[in-house]
């Protein structure tokens, strides 16, 4: 907004200036711009605005780079500005780290809590924690600073935690907050008392075990090293002895003037001594190597023990170190002694060599002069001749002259030789001195370090004791304070809890009342509904029972009617059926209260009951015989019934042909009442199963034909009647049954 105004003001000012022609330097710019015309004024405005905007943005960025608070403000107020800043300046610097002391705190709290429980190995713990902290925190604060911080945190911890619960409450949020940063101490979980004690006990035990193992290790190592070192020292001593003896013997051999055989034995003894010396020197060297190896091993063990950092082991470690140091010193001294002896021996051997050489030379000269004289010329004074003696003396004089000359030369060169020898000696002395100095320095350094460590241990113990007393005092104060605070808190919490309890109780009660009322209402409703349904069901069941009863009765009736029907079917071809009495009896029983059925049952003709009825088929078959007969006696009636008439009717029957079957008309006329016609009608109707019509027609017969067909007619009538009644009954039974099944 401001910038827009500025922009506008700028452009307006520019225009104003350009217009007024005030001699300021922007005017010159204006001039150069106005020369371009109105087209460039737009460009001018655009350029000016771009410039202003760019300047504003750049200025903001630069200032944000310098002042992070301003940057934060801008990022908060202007959206997406944080991205721009990120592009231009890189990510914002993180807020200053206030976490460091808090990082240390959880660690110390837990350690302090353990201390409360059991202050057996506080030193070790502290040492451990202190040692581990530098590992945990990458950007390491120097150890003393951390110790200081640690102590400060201890203070904080002590003020805030006396009881385990409060401790845990405090620890957990901290731990949760700082979990991501402490990799080494991942989660300072609350440890219950028993667990802490157990852990401490475990740790103590572990330390004890470690300690015992360590001490045993150290002892073993020390023992073995001591043994080996002693062995080495002994070997060195032996070597020394051997060297000294050899040297002595060599000197003796060189300076003594023994007879030749003793000389040879002496030389042999010397050789033995030399071999003895070399052997012992080798042995000593090997022993020294072994001892050095053992010492290194011991040093390694001691270093390992030091790494474990168990305080109780410290004195033993120190003792071991002292032992080591003394052994090293002894070994070195012995080695130096051996070396000096060896150098002395070298000098003596060199001397002996020189002497031997001179002797050899002399002997050679002597041999050249007097070849026949043997080497051991001391014993040959009697054997030599005068010439030999003279030559020998002359040679001796010459030799003396030569020697004198050499001596003079030697005297002259003496100084130089002495100087050079001195130089050499100085050099060697310096070297030796350096070596000695260095070893002495090493030893001293070692000694001092040991002493220093001892002192450090002592001071540490003292400090630990003091700290313990101070902590105990502070723990007591903290406990009292916490007790008071907790009492107050308890009161408050209790009152709060009671309030909450009461209110929730009231709520629950009202809720409960409402629910019970609802339940009652719904229950009543359900009960009413159920009762109504029950009533309905009862009625339905009753009606069903009635209907069932009706149905049963109908079924029975029907069954009995079916039985009756069946009996009707039992008619064999020419025999009547079985008497229907039984079936009718059954019907009568089954429908005792049904009047209609009773009436029907009683309507049956007695003949059918007692004797049974003929079947239609039998009647039909019988009809043909009757027809034949009826035809034959067709002329016979009351008026004509002589034998002659019989003969005539027979003749008529033989001669008269009628249709076997002829359909009867609907109405019988007078001429249809002829016997033959009637008979054919009846035959036709019988063939078509109409027994009733046939019976009706047969009933129209007159005279003898009628008399002949009488029985048949009777039977047919009986059958028809029975059938009619039975069909009525079955229809009735069916109707009743149907009615009952259709009942609701």
């Amino acid at each position: 907004m401001l910038r827009v105004c500025l922009k506008g003001a700028n452009s307006a000012a520019r225009k104003c200036l350009c217009g007024n022609g005030v001699p300021l330097h922007p005017l010159q710019q204006c001039r150069s711009y106005t020369s371009g015309g109105s087209g460039s004024s737009a460009g001018k405005i655009v350029a000016a605005s771009v410039l202003t905007v760019g300047g504003g943005v750049g200025g903001t960025i630069l200032y944000a780079n310098w002042d992070p608070k301003f940057r934060a403000n801008v990022e908060k107020s202007i959206p997406y500005s944080d991205q721009v800043f990120g592009l231009a300046l890189g990510p914002a610097a993180p807020p200053p780290v206030i976490n460091k002391p808090r990082k240390v705190e959880p660690v110390q709290i837990s350690s302090m809590s353990e201390m409360w429980k059991d202050s057996k190995q506080p030193k070790a713990k502290e040492v451990e924690k202190k040692a581990e902290q530098p590992d945990a925190e990458g950007p390491p604060a120097p150890a003393p600073q951390e110790t200081l911080e640690g102590e400060a945190c201890v203070f904080v911890a002590m003020i805030l935690s006396a009881e385990q619960n409060v401790l845990s409450v405090f620890c957990i949020p901290l731990a949760a907050a700082k979990c991501t940063e402490c990799e080494h101490e991942p989660a300072v979980k609350e440890r219950p008392e028993g667990e802490v004690a157990a852990r401490l006990a475990e740790q103590d035990k572990a330390e004890q075990d470690l300690l015992t193992s360590l001490s045993s290790n150290l002892e073993d190592a020390l023992g073995s090293t001591a043994k080996v070192t002693l062995q080495a020292i002994g070997a060195q001593e032996a070597a020394l002895q051997a060297i000294a003896q050899h040297t002595r013997q060599l000197r003796e051999a060189m300076e003594a003037e023994a007879p030749p055989d003793k000389k040879s034995t002496q030389w042999r003894v010397l050789e033995d001594a030399l071999s003895e010396r070399s052997r012992s020197v080798d042995e000593a060297g090997a022993a020294v190597l072994k001892a050095k190896a053992e010492l290194d091993k011991l040093r390694g063990v001691i270093d390992g023990a030091k790494h474990l950092k168990i305080a109780a082991a410290r004195p033993s470690i120190l003792a071991a170190e002292e032992n080591l140091h003394s052994m090293v010193v002894d070994l070195d001294s012995v080695v130096t002694r051996v070396q000096t002896a060896q150098s002395e021996a070298k000098i003596v051997s060199q001397y002996s060599e020189l002497v031997n050489e001179a002797k050899a030379q002399f002997q050679k000269e002597l041999n050249s002069i007097t070849p026949e004289i043997q080497a051991n010329w001391k014993g040959l004074t009697g054997k030599l001749t005068q010439d030999d003696l003279n030559s020998l003396i002359a040679h001796a004089h010459r030799r003396i002259d030569q020697m004198n000359r050499e001596l003079a030369e030697q005297r002259v060169r003496e100084q130089i030789h002495i100087d050079s020898a001195l130089e050499q000696q100085k050099l060697e002395d310096k070297k030796a001195l350096e070596v000695a100095v260095s070893t002495a320095l090493e030893h001293n350094r070692e000694q001092m370090r040991l002493e220093q460590e001892k002192k450090v241990e002592e001071t540490r113990e003292v400090m630990e004791a003091e700290m313990r007393t101070q902590l105990r005092r502070q723990a007591a104060a903290h406990t009292d304070h916490l007790r008071d605070v907790l009492k107050v808190q308890e009161q408050e919490l209790r009152s709060e809890a009671e309030e909450i309890l009461n209110s929730s109780l009231m709520e629950k009660e009202t809720e409960y009342r409402r629910l019970t009322q609802d339940q009652l209402d719904s229950f009543t409703l359900d009960m009413n509904a159920a009762y109504a349904r029950l009533k309905g069901m009862e009625e339905a069941i009753d009606s069903h029972v009635i209907a069932e009863e009706e149905a049963r009765k109908a079924h029975q009736l029907w069954l009995s009617v079916e039985a009756l029907n069946y009996t009707l079917k039992t008619a064999a071809l020419n025999d009547p059926t079985e008497p229907l009495e039984g079936a009718v009896q059954a019907i009568k029983e089954s429908c005792a209260e049904d009047e209609f059925a009773q009436a029907l049952a009683t309507a049956l003709p007695s003949e059918s009951l007692s004797r049974g009825v003929y079947s239609e088929a039998s009647l039909r078959a019988r009809f043909y015989a009757i027809r034949q007969l009826a035809r034959r006696v067709a002329l016979i009636d009351e008026t004509r019934n002589s034998l002659y008439q019989y003969f005539l009717s027979y003749l008529q029957a033989m001669l008269l042909f009628e249709k076997a079957q002829e359909a009867p008309p609907a109405k019988l006329s007078a001429e249809d009442l002829d016997t033959f016609k009637l008979l054919s009608y009846a035959a036709y109707s019988l063939e078509h199963g109409d027994l009733e019509l046939a019976a009706k027609l047969v009933n129209q017969l007159k005279g003898e034909s009628r008399r002949v067909a009488q029985d048949w007619l009777k039977e047919a009538r009986l059958t028809l009647e029975t059938k009619q009644v039975v069909s009525l009954l079955s229809a009735y039974a069916n109707a009743v049954g149907l009615g009952t099944t259709m009942a609701p």
Binding site: R622, A625, I626, L629, V633, I636, D637, E638, N641, S642, L643, Y646, N699, E704, R707, V708, A709, Q710, D711, W712
Partner: protein, 80 residues
């Protein structure tokens, strides 16, 4: 069975006629032999008498249902 009645009647007739004829013949022969010096006319007469008696019996037998008898009620005689 009413239809068998005629058959029976006719059987009786035949039997009766056979008997009558036989008897007639027998008597005729007897009479012819005994009384009429073996003339044939008593045989024929006897046969004739026998046959006539048979015929009449047969006829009466066959007519019997139609005869109105005094001791039988009319309603029983004719059955419909």
């Amino acid at each position: 069975m009413s239809e068998k009645e005629l058959g029976k009647k006719l059987d009786r007739c035949l039997a009766d006629s056979a008997v009558k004829l036989g008897a007639g013949l027998g008597l005729g022969i007897v009479f012819s032999v005994v009384f009429f010096k073996r003339h044939t006319w008593p045989v024929a007469f006897g046969l004739g008498m026998g046959l006539g008696m048979a015929y009449t019996n047969c006829q009466n037998d066959l007519r019997a249902p139609y005869l109105i008898q005094r001791n039988i009620k009319v309603s029983n005689a004719t059955k419909y």
